[in-house]
C-alpha cells in the first residue's frame, strides 16, 4: 500500500475498530449496513469489482471458440458456461453495490482500462484444447479460491461465492472431459492437449497472486477475515489436486521440479516467472489491448438494446398514466 493511500484514509475511532475486529474474530458476518472501517470497505470494493470484471472479461477467450466448437454437445456446454460467467459477474457486481458504489461506475472503470481483472484472461485461446485447459485449470484454480471466499467475513461476497461454487464444478468437469477426450485421441489430438497444458499451467499458478511475502494486501485481508488462506497455501492446494488429474489422462505438467514431498504431503513445484506475471498485470500481456477493445465494442454494440429497453419502459409508464 502506498503512503498516499494511507494519508487519504480517514482516521477511524479505535474503539469501533476494536469492536469490528472482535466481531470478525467471533466469526460474525459483516452486513452492508454494519459499521466497518473505511479501509475494509475500500479493499472489498477493489477486490470484489476486480473479481466481477474477471468474470466478464473471462467470457472473451472462450467466446472465441463458440462458433468453432467441434460438436453440438460441446457447443451447448460452452454457451452455457459463458452464460454462467456473465451471471457470476452480475452476482458479484450486485454484492459490490451493497458497499455503496454504483455499478455503472465500476463498469466505466473497466471500459476505461483503469480497473484490473485476472491476468489469465490476457492469454490467447489458440486451439480447441485451450478451452479444455481453461475449464480444467482456470476454473479449477478459481474453485480453490472461491471455496475459501465462500467463508469471507463480508456476507454479500460470501453468499455470491456460495452461488458461484455450486455452478463452477460443471465448468471444471467439462474442461477436464475435453482434455481427457483429446488426450485419448489421435497422436495429433494428444499433442494439441499437451501443448495447451504447457501454455496454461504456469499462468494458472500465477492466478493465485504474488507469493505471500510480495503480496501487500494479503495480511490485511486475512486479518479482516476476507481471505482465510494465503495465496501460497491456495496455490499449493491447487497443485496437489491437479497432479493426479493430469496423470490419470496421460498429460504431463510442464515442470521438471515437480516432486512429492513425503514430509509435508505436498507436491513441490519449480519457480514461477514473476516477471511475466507483473508484465501481464501491468498491461503488456499477449491480449490485454484486444480484450479491452472487444469489451468496449460489446458495450457500444449493446447501446441500442439499452436505449430500446428504456424507451419501452417509458412508453409503458405513459400508457399507465393515461
Amino acid at each position: 500500500m502506498s503512503s498516499k493511500a494511507v494519508q487519504n484514509m480517514p482516521a477511524e475511532d479505535p474503539a469501533r475498530v476494536a469492536e469490528f475486529e472482535a466481531r470478525i474474530a467471533r466469526g460474525e458476518s459483516i452486513e452492508p449496513k454494519d459499521w466497518m472501517p473505511e479501509r475494509y470497505r475500500r479493499q472489498l470494493i477493489r477486490m470484489m469489482s476486480q473479481h466481477a470484471h474477471s468474470e466478464v472479461v473471462g467470457m472473451l477467450p472462450e467466446g472465441n471458440w463458440i462458433t468453432r466448437a467441434p460438436s453440438l454437445r460441446r457447443k451447448m456446454s460452452l454457451l452455457a458456461k459463458v452464460q454462467d460467467e456473465a451471471g457470476h459477474g452480475l452476482y458479484i457486481y450486485c454484492g459490490t453495490e451493497t458497499l455503496g458504489v454504483d455499478r455503472q461506475q465500476l463498469i466505466d472503470q473497466l471500459l476505461e482500462g483503469t480497473a484490473k481483472y485476472s491476468s489469465i484472461f490476457n492469454y490467447p485461446t489458440l486451439t480447441w484444447a485451450d478451452i479444455g485447459a481453461i475449464g480444467w485449470f482456470v476454473d479449477g484454480a478459481a474453485i480453490v479460491n472461491q471455496t475459501m471466499l465462500a467463508h469471507a467475513s463480508y456476507g454479500p461476497y460470501a453468499r455470491a461465492m456460495v452461488r458461484i461454487c455450486k455452478e463452477e464444478n460443471f465448468h471444471k468437469r467439462q474442461g477436464y472431459e475435453i482434455m481427457a477426450t483429446l488426450a485419448a485421441g489421435t497422436p495429433a489430438q494428444h499433442a494439441m492437449a499437451q501443448d495447451a497444458v504447457n501454455r496454461w499451467w504456469w499462468p494458472s499458478l500465477m492466478m493465485f497472486g504474488p507469493s505471500d511475502k510480495d503480496s501487500p494486501n494479503s495480511a490485511e485481508l486475512m486479518r479482516w477475515g476476507v481471505k482465510k488462506k494465503s495465496n501460497d497455501e491456495l496455490r499449493q492446494r491447487f497443485v496437489n489436486l491437479t497432479v493426479a488429474q493430469a496423470k490419470a489422462i496421460d498429460l504431463v505438467l510442464p515442470d521438471p521440479d515437480l516432486q512429492y514431498d513425503e514430509e509435508t504431503e505436498n507436491w513441490k513445484f519449480g519457480p514461477i516467472d514473476w516477471d511475466e506475471f507483473w508484465r501481464v498485470v501491468k498491461g503488456d500481456g499477449p491480449c490485454n489491448r484486444e480484450r479491452l477493445a472487444a469489451r468496449r465494442a460489446a458495450h457500444d454494440d449493446g447501446e441500442w438494446v439499452r436505449v430500446a429497453a428504456a424507451a419501452y419502459a417509458a412508453k409503458q409508464r405513459e400508457e399507465a398514466a393515461a
Binding site: W35, D84, L90, C94, R103, R159, E167, V307, A310
Partner: protein
C-alpha cells in the same frame, strides 16, 4: 462529433444511467419460502423478472420469483440490534427445553 458526445454526456445517455435496482427472491421447488438471492437492474418490473430469471434461475432453482424495488424495502438497522430484538431474547419459557419432563418419557 466530439462535441456531440460532450453535449450528450452532460445529460447522461439513458443507456448509461443506472436503471432502478430490484431485489430478487426465489422460491425453490420443494415448497420452501422465498429467499433473497441478489439484485438486478431493470427499467420496470417485467424486465426485472426476466433479468432475475436469467441471472438467478438458470438451473431450475426456482418455481416462483418475486422482484421488489430495493428502495421499497424497510429494514431494521444494526443499531437496533440490541433493544429491538430484546423482547425475543429473554424468554426462555418460549422454548420446549425450558420444561422438565420425567426421564424416559417422550413428549
Amino acid at each position: 462529433m466530439a462535441n456531440d458526445t460532450t453535449t450528450t454526456r452532460q445529460q447522461p445517455a439513458p443507456s448509461d444511467s443506472q436503471w432502478p435496482l430490484w431485489e430478487v427472491f426465489l422460491q425453490p421447488p420443494k415448497g420452501e419460502a422465498h429467499e433473497h438471492a441478489g439484485s438486478v437492474h431493470a427499467t420496470n418490473a417485467e424486465q426485472a423478472l426476466q433479468n432475475a430469471r436469467d441471472v438467478y434461475a438458470r438451473r431450475g432453482e426456482a418455481v416462483s420469483i418475486w422482484v421488489v424495488r430495493s428502495e421499497a424495502i424497510t429494514a431494521s438497522t444494526p443499531e437496533d440490534m440490541g433493544p429491538f430484538f430484546d423482547p425475543g431474547n429473554d424468554k426462555p419459557y418460549r422454548h420446549p427445553q425450558f420444561y422438565k419432563i420425567p426421564r424416559g418419557i417422550r413428549v
